[in-house]
């Protein structure tokens, strides 16, 4: 049995799978989420994403990712989930005191 990483296999076969679209707008920039499209497979998802989200040269590169493959943190847990970073103020440069005579550092 082959392990298919495509989670849209888990979806009912009679509905169009959903894909998240990410666009790199310029070289040097990260891909950024733009929206989503429905398409039966990856190739058509790329074409649909191009037609839907890049009609005016908005992109140099496109990613499409099956929506079901994205694992998200739960906003309800965000206080506990991100809490440890808030109290570690020593991770920020302003925590350390340098005499002004030393100049910019």
């Amino acid at each position: 049995m082959a392990e298919n990483p495509m989670p849209q296999n888990a979806m009912p076969q009679n509905v169009m799978p959903l894909w998240e679209v990410f666009i790199r707008s310029r070289t040097g920039m990260a891909h950024r989420h733009a929206g989503s499209v429905h398409a039966p497979d990856a190739e058509m998802a790329l074409q649909a994403a191009r037609d839907t989200y890049t009609r005016r040269g908005e992109g140099l590169s496109l990613w499409v990712v099956p929506s079901a493959a994205i694992i998200a943190s739960d906003p309800a847990d965000k206080a506990e989930f991100f809490e440890p970073t808030a109290e570690k103020i020593y991770r920020h440069p302003t925590f350390y005191e340098i005499p002004p005579e030393v100049g910019h550092m």
């Binding site: 082959a2 296999n9 509905v15 929206g35 929506s67």
Partner: protein, 334 residues
């Protein structure tokens, strides 16, 4: 995460009791001008309101392709034809951005589409008027898209993140729509007497329906107050309508055209163009399904859906076949 795979109806819609504390926290976030994102807690009524508004908006874009699509093959030049094709394609794109935003609220594309096709969902009343002449393409770009921009710019700051982001994208593209329409009207207005008459006739027919696009007067608007509190709506229907009239009347005069409203006059003291009474009975009639083109618009949409069904089925079957093949281990003999 942004959108979820929600092609199917939620088996168990979240029926969490909405305690007053959660509601107060939610309202505090809105009042602090924070954006609400798909997985955040939100009151059920906020979700319902947004699904209704965003999907109506999406349906309007999709149905809105028809009145203009009517003239693509008869555009008078290649330049105009290319512009009109691009504009109609944009409207389709806008519908898709908006459906994607609505889907983040837990409703499936199939449900939304079914609501449109069954006639259960509403869409903007303006698209139930016919495009009788080429000048109507100019009037739609200038007036209908102009009114849409007035409505949509405040939505770029809507409290629901995916809707606001979709609207930013839409607004960037609408400006071309309005400018090409006005340029078309300008060409006709500076043309032969017949061409100018055609432009005037289009303005006469589209003006009042465009004023109705902003919705019922504030005195009888059903959803306004709550939508304002939730940061979905930023300006009242009447305020936006007045803003549109003030911006548009001088543009019409520049074209050398007149407006079909004998009561239209400039109120120098207030700095506003005052306009006559709107026929709200007509608005309600068109919204209820009795406009000049309601049946035709839905019929066309249903036919497109039915005639495209085999393509979608074939594409899904092909994708399923390829997945099945990829999953089958090759025979040892091969």
């Amino acid at each position: 995460m942004y959108t979820q795979a929600l092609n199917q109806r939620d088996a168990a819609p979240a029926a969490t009791p909405e305690d007053a504390a959660a509601l107060a926290r939610f309202q505090a976030r809105i009042d602090a001008d924070e954006r609400i994102e798909p997985n955040d807690w939100m009151p059920a009524a906020y979700r319902r309101t947004l699904v209704r508004q965003i999907s109506q908006h999406a349906h309007s874009e999709i149905i809105g392709m028809q009145p203009e699509g009517n003239w693509i093959t008869r555009a008078p030049s290649l330049r105009r034809k290319a512009a009109l094709l691009a504009k109609v394609q944009d409207e389709g794109g806008h519908g898709l951005y908006l459906y994607a935003a609505a889907e983040t609220l837990g409703v499936s594309r199939e449900e939304l589409s079914a609501q449109l096709l069954s006639g259960a969902a509403k869409y903007s009343s303006i698209f139930n008027y016919p495009t009788l002449s080429w000048a109507d393409i100019g009037a739609i770009g200038w007036l209908v898209d102009g009114a849409a921009i007035m409505n949509q710019i405040p939505l770029c700051r809507c409290s629901y993140g995916p809707y606001a982001r979709a609207m930013i994208r839409v607004c960037k593209e609408e400006s071309f729509h309005q400018r090409q329409g006005y340029e078309l009207m300008l060409a006709l207005s500076r043309g032969t007497a017949e061409q100018k008459a055609m432009a005037q006739d289009a303005l006469n027919r589209w003006w009042w329906p465009c004023l109705m696009m902003f919705g019922p007067p504030d005195s009888e608007s059903q959803h306004s107050d709550q939508s304002m509190r939730w940061g979905i709506k930023r300006f009242s229907n009447d305020a936006l309508r007045q803003k549109f009239v003030d911006a548009t009347v001088p543009q019409g005069h520049f074209l050398g055209l007149s407006f079909p409203d004998p009561a239209l006059r400039y109120d120098a003291e207030a700095g506003h163009w005052r306009f006559g009474a709107i026929d709200w009975a007509e608005f309600r009639r068109v919204l209820a399904g009795d406009g000049p083109c309601n049946r035709q618009r839905l019929e066309t949409r249903r036919r497109a859906e039915a005639e495209g069904a085999w393509v979608r089925e074939a594409a899904l079957a092909h994708a399923a076949k390829r997945r099945a093949r990829a999953a089958t281990p090759p025979l040892a003999a091969e």
